[in-house]
Amino acid sequence: MKYEAKIDGRQVAITLEERDGMVAAAIDNRTYELKVVQPEQGVYLIFFGDDVYEADVWGGDRNRLQVKLRGRLFEVNIINRKQRRAATDHAAEGRQNLISPMPGKVVRVLLTAGNEVEAGQGVVVVEAMKMQNEIKSPKAGRVVAVRVNEGETVSANQVLAVVE
């Protein structure tokens, strides 16, 4: 099977096949013949020649898998066709939502609808885990709408404001 993936942002093409209990993989022009055992859920012990690599994989979402390997953390996205289209759309200009990256409480709204905003300028302050975090505009432009009020509890990925 052929796949595309991003490893820490770098895109690669992967071919992966199993035969006779071996895994044969090719990444760009590099080929690997591997044996794999799974000592625990999510843990892959990969034998490559005399080398052994323990990879611990987590993240239910295949778009953002975390792989711990030799004390390093890699982020891997497995891309399918739909996502490729979405990724193209995402790069488009226009309105953008200001998203809360974590659950928390809105302690201050710094700008209101109609305000000019610069890229990186704080729009809303969300408190979580005793830290006040300025949620910043991803682009320069104008605040179209602010969707939250001070004192309000927000969840992760909730839209706080819209800028264009």
């Binding site: 611990d56 390997l69 004390g71 974590m102």
Partner: protein
Amino acid sequence: MFKKLLIANRGEIAVRIARACREMGISPVAVYSDIDRAALHVRVADQAVRIGTAPSNESYLLIENIISAAIKTGAEAIHPGYGFLSENADFAEAVERAGLVLVGPPASAMRMMGSKTSARRAAQAAGAPVVPGTTSSVDSAEQAQAQAETIGYPVMLKAASGGGGKGMRLVPSRQDLPSALSLARNEALSSFGDPSVYIEKYIDRPRHIEIQLIGDRDGKMIYLGERECSLQRRHQKVMEECPSPLVDEDLRRRMGEAAVGIARSAGYYNAGTMEFLVDSEKNFYFLEMNTRLQVEHPVTEMVVGRDLVHLQIRVAAGESLSFSQDEVVMRGAAIECRIYAEDPSNGFLPSPGRISKLITPSGPGVRDDSGVYAGWDVPVYYDSLLAKLCVWAETREEAINRLARALGEYTIEGIRTTLPFFRAVVASGEFRAARLDTGFIDRFWNGESPVREGSDEEVDVKLADIAAIAALLHARATVPVTGAAPAGLTPSNRWKMHGRLPQRRG
């Protein structure tokens, strides 16, 4: 000795104090907010009393609820840990009024040393050098700007009742002051119930070095060496060492004696920490006193070979210190990493949520003080500290090597943590060379990843490939891919997938 002790805290420090209680034959009593009902600090206690709802000002900061929990369970003493009510003199007084013993300093000394402004006055009176700044809190932007003008920019804003970087802001110039003051006062109010903020001169690339003190009620006061706390982010310590690579025997003795002098003049007893800034010429300035146990106390314990929480409890129970200053011997080097639920690849944003897997390192010279477990949902309401990883070795270099090994073993899944950040720090040449100052992290970490110092390209590509293959195997086994074979790995006879953990029956 006490038979029962209430721990007025949560998270790793509550667990650490409960461990000390078990070791001393004292029954530990926990308190908890609704959201902490199944928290680790409740699981390790003998008794547990609900004291309110999740927000800390409706539970862990409610003096009355905590004292009535102690009375109800028959606890004779209260250990406040750090944070929450640990530096609240009103609480200390209330504990005493209730006929209970606070494991901490007397309320009077806490009041004098707990407010940074009066502590500065006390240090000056005791003849210790202090950082130039205001000795009282500033209320308006205009007043602050006037004060800052005389001190000279850049200046620091600091919460008078504060600690842990909360309510603290660096102000580079005049126009930044109003918004910084407002943020600092807000944070101070929310964290400590007191919006007071004062101004201090900002010392460029300072070392942040502190002296650990322990004193008994008979007036014996001993310093237990220093800690290097220069690695900070947002003015919050993230990594501490004992001893400081900068401090020699002479400086240690001078700082230790200054610290003892200040504490004595305040009538202090129990554990406390005197924080100093040290400039590039090894001049030291009194910064503040923490009138409680510090987060980073384990590095001192490992190097001096004494248990600070045991000592705190013994002193609180009226025992005298059984050793003298001469008997304090430092051996080897210890380093602590604070494992926070923050995402270092995304500006250290908080990352609460469910921990799906937890593997803690062990083996020689490794100590993990944790407040979480696999399956625990890290709440959004409290400080993001999950655990403290400490290592000890014969030398600083060996301690760093051991730390790298232990960080490699440490696995927390389900939420983002500062583990990848620490792995990068211990690999950095600047850290190994002990070129530490409070600006280190801002220079070292660009907000997403370390500023690279060069690496082996070929090894990197191979590791990345293996990571991608593992991720693909995982994705195939767990989430069917459009167009891909639905099954995961087909087990062969000889190299079959080793059995997964069996599900419980039912």
